[in-house]
């Protein structure tokens, strides 16, 4: 079973964060990534450009429309994801809870559709 872990953060928080704290967080991300790589749970992952770079694409009545910004206005913005392999939802939740931003923001765990 594959799970996609979407990482939500409040971008403002990062801007206001002292450099030392920000570097510490990045280090924490690095070691978490290494840990799940070593345990075989890691399939892939990326961090994303800030939300200003986002574009929402819509199709209405067969016509493509593109708008600036994320799909919805919320306090937290999508900032990255982990694609993980887990036995079931319990294991996926367990791994997601270890993502550093689980503390600062939210992680959405979505099962990947199997074909």
């Amino acid at each position: 079973m594959k799970y996609l872990c979407l990482i939500y953060d409040e971008e403002k928080k990062f801007g206001a964060m002292p450099k030392g704290e920000l570097d510490g967080l990045m280090k924490e991300y690095f070691s978490f990534t290494e840990a799940i790589r070593a345990s075989g749970h890691y399939l892939g992952g990326n961090d994303l450009e800030p939300v200003q770079a986002a574009t929402t694409v819509r199709v209405r009545n067969g016509k493509v429309s593109t708008t600036d910004g994320p799909f919805a206005e919320t306090k937290e913005q999508l900032g990255g994801y982990y694609l993980i392999e887990a036995r079931d939802l319990n294991e996926a939740i367990q791994i997601a809870s270890r993502i550093p931003s689980a503390r600062l923001g939210s992680i959405e765990v979505r099962p990947i559709r199997e074909h």
């Binding site: 036995r87 079931d88 939802l89 319990n90 765990v109 099962p111």
Partner: protein, 412 residues
């Protein structure tokens, strides 16, 4: 003859259908398929037990019949969907498959409880699914108990089952590490079901299913399967509350406060059971919030009247509870207990403090408690103002009538 077999089957359905279902869900890996299989198995029992006699172990018979019927169903559907034939083959029992032993069956019941109360499901769906799958209530019964339209309740249940399947919520007893958190969710679901039945507005309660009784049955089952101290504590708490049911409303449906209840109408059998369970739960090293609340209820239950209550002990238990669960409602109850121990002025100071912090400003019982203490210290004007505030905030009819009565008494 015919009637006897039917009676036997009905008896087996009542005592064992939830066990059979719990095992079928594990074997088939799907709630809907298992429910259909359960139905098919009982339909087959009607025909075959009549003809061949009742099998030696009806439960084992029902599980294996249900399993074969499910495989049949999948084979028939496989004619339209090839992927199902592989599934049917996988479910085919091997020659070495032993029939499930009693221990497996009891584990299946726990698996079912924990799956229905999985924290990834919405809270209202946890309750609905538990009542339906574990307690065997129909969707219509659950809908009427929660004053929801049946189609809306059915949709809630369907969505929950879909989430279980799609997100792959496992059919598992949680690991040791996860057990405390997961058990908390289960206990919370059971307590919500109980409260829904216990605090139901009296007008609607006539048509509502006996939810409090259902919650107590669920807790008994849980205590049998997993005798964790807090599960024992919750069962004790509910039994002790339930013991006062007959005394807490007047024949006219009016609310009667604990201190004014006719204690001869308390159910002594439930009190004795509740007190025994409290002792058992307290014998664990660290009592949890349900056990502490049960201990408080037990102190009340053992007192001959309100004046003879050991308020010092109750206040002490609330101290521990308030440290463990620093919620404003616990603080309010603690203040009321301290008022009984040290006099109304001491309690009033604490409640004014709480209200000044604003968290309880919209809670009618905080104003009602303040009004009562103002009345006791002889401050009629403040008492009337607080009763009026409480009356503005109260929603349930019996509570509103009670507050209006108190207000009227003060103007005399």
């Amino acid at each position: 003859m015919e009637g006897r077999v039917r009676e036997t089957i009905e008896g087996v359905y009542r005592s064992d259908s939830r066990r059979v279902l719990a095992t079928l869900i594990r074997l088939l890996g799907d709630f809907d398929l298992a429910e259909e299989a359960l139905h098919d198995a009982f339909t087959a029992a009607m025909e075959q037990w009549e003809r061949d006699g009742v099998p030696l172990n009806p439960r084992t018979w029902l599980v294996s019949t249900g399993r074969f019927k499910a495989i049949d169903r999948l084979r028939r559907r496989a004619r339209f969907d090839a992927s199902l034939s592989e599934l049917a083959e996988r479910l085919e029992p091997g020659v070495h498959d032993a029939p499930p032993g009693d221990e497996d069956v009891e584990d299946d019941r726990l698996r079912l409880i924990f799956t229905c109360c999985h924290p990834a499901l919405p809270a209202d769906a946890q309750i609905a699914l538990t009542l339906r799958e574990v307690c065997g209530l129909t969707t219509e019964q659950i809908a009427s108990a929660f004053l929801v339209a049946a189609p809306a309740m059915a949709q809630r249940i369907v969505r929950a089952k879909t989430k279980i399947r799609v997100a792959r919520i496992p059919y598992q007893i949680p690991s040791r590490a996860d057990l405390p958190d997961r058990l908390e969710t289960v206990l919370h679901v059971i307590y919500l079901v109980f409260n829904e039945g216990y605090y139901a507005s009296s007008g609607a309660s006539l048509t509502r299913h006996d939810l409090s009784g259902e919650a107590i049955r669920l807790a008994r089952l849980l205590v049998d399967l997993l005798p964790e101290p807090e599960a024992v504590g919750l069962l004790a708490l509910m039994l002790l509350h339930e013991s006062r049911r007959a005394a807490r409303t007047s024949p006219g449906g009016e609310l009667v406060l604990l201190e004014e209840q006719d204690r001869s109408r308390w159910d002594r059998g439930r009190i004795a059971q509740g007190c025994r369970l409290v002792e058992r739960a307290l014998s664990s090293r660290r009592p949890g919030p349900y056990t502490l609340q049960a201990a408080i209820a037990a102190v009340h239950a053992e007192a001959a009247d309100a004046a003879g209550t050991d308020w010092a002990q109750i206040a002490g238990l609330y101290d521990v509870l308030a440290r463990m669960e620093p919620s404003p409602v616990v603080a309010l109850n603690r203040a009321a207990a301290i008022a009984m121990r040290d006099g109304p002025a001491a309690g009033l100071a604490l409640i004014d403090d709480l209200l000044a912090r604003g968290e309880l400003a919209g809670y009618h019982l905080a104003h009602a408690a303040r009004a009562d203490l103002c009345r006791r210290v002889g401050d009629v004007a403040s008492a009337r103002a607080s009763y009026r505030r409480a009356l503005d905030l109260a929603r349930q009819e019996p509570e509103r009538r009670f507050l209006a009565r108190r207000l009227a008494e003060l103007s005399e």
